[in-house]
Symmetry: C2
Subunit: 237 residues, 2 copies
């Protein structure tokens, strides 16, 4: 079920997505290959570990998490994906999805068939370069996360996580000091490699020290400087 009114040309987040470096005519071409389907309900799955790779996906609205599942059954969350972000890139090499992507809330997705995208890339230097930049960025983000997990204490990790979310919301024109955690605390714990109990205690401590307030899942950052400092200033996660 296509939704004709939405096009890359008038999409609010096209400057975070693939069209960044493209001329109007080029965006038109890109738009031509995009498949838009009805929104994904909370909890439903975009692709699963082992699925054949056909396309990469752009998040248009909502939020997804992606995670792998180890042989002993426990899951490792790899990332949370906000509007404008491209997912499925880790499947290009093996042509099979190595991770599962699940909607954390109702989300709309643009499907970009990979073969079509590759053909377009041949003739559109801007698209080719933006693709490369997005992949490069993802490599860098993963490496920064690596650093976070390897070298930072539990407090610092959580602070960095919140600062990172804050920055990403800001980039999307939303408040940077006041947002809703769409993921469960247990997801945060999993992502940051900690026990749920530890996350719970750390949130309590952040509240106690007046860095943030938290009501249900609504987070307010009161002391952005303090929190950034705790996170390690230059850590963009």
């Amino acid at each position: 079920m296509a939704i004709p009114s939405i096009k890359c040309q008038n999409c609010g987040i096209n400057q975070l997505c693939l069209p960044v470096m493209l001329a109007d005519a080029e965006v038109e071409h890109l738009d031509g290959i995009v498949q838009r389907t009805k929104p994904l309900d909370k909890g439903s799955i975009l692709y699963r570990v082992g699925d054949t790779f056909n396309a990469i996906y752009a998040v248009r609205s909502g939020c997804l998490k992606s995670y792998t599942i180890s042989e002993n059954g426990d899951e490792q969350i790899i990332g949370f994906h906000l509007p404008g972000e491209i997912i499925g890139l880790n499947a290009i090499d093996s042509q099979q999805h190595p991770s599962t992507a699940k909607a954390l809330e109702t989300s709309t997705i643009c499907t970009l068939p990979y073969e079509d995208l590759d053909s377009l890339a041949a003739d559109m230097p801007g698209l080719r370069q933006q693709l490369m930049r997005i992949m490069s960025r993802e490599i860098l983000d993963d490496q920064e996360l690596l650093f976070l997990l390897n070298k930072k204490s539990a407090d610092e990790r959580l602070a960095a996580f919140l600062i990172n979310l804050s920055a990403r919301y800001a980039k999307r024109g939303l408040a940077n000091d006041c947002f809703k955690l769409v993921m469960k605390k247990s997801d945060i714990a999993n992502y940051l490699g900690m026990a749920i109990e530890t996350i719970s205690r750390l949130f309590s401590r952040l509240v106690e020290k007046d860095y943030i307030t938290i009501e249900r899942k609504q987070v307010n950052i009161i002391d952005m400087n303090g929190l950034s400092q705790l996170a390690g200033v230059s850590c963009h996660l």
Copy 2:
């Protein structure tokens, strides 16, 4: 100083590198843009954090490490690079190298000027696709490392590290059970997010339990199955 006798066409590791999907004539074109300079001595630096991005690099022989440096000065090793691997991909987005690459032993490097590569990619679908696969693979590798650091104990991490090295040597036609650690133990510790002392103790334990022997930097894996099991079988690091 160009070394004329080495060409992509006759390079022993071209099937691990960029030429994988290319026809002979295409490899010729690729070879045309490659810059080969004299070997990098042990300890010398290929690029530094902050350097302007001009090219990506293929390791032809030797071994390099790449690492970032945090504001408080401590370094975080991101990876060790063996022949056939492409490095510098994390700089494409920002056009500045976010990490430093240093030779751990005498190493030869092929420089691939990025603009030239991009132009070639326009006309060579195979090259374009191989580039994407290599980046995709790197994303995946980083994510697997993430999992390792987040969910595995110290023993498991070290075992996984050794199994990973072993597999990579095997892929290059070298023995998978008998190799020299080119990096210092402190580098391994840094990479895996542990203290040097811990790494030292873990090596002792692996030897004691007859998984490996180690003489200077020469490692022999005696019980590959046992070590793999300890590492978590399906963990390719």
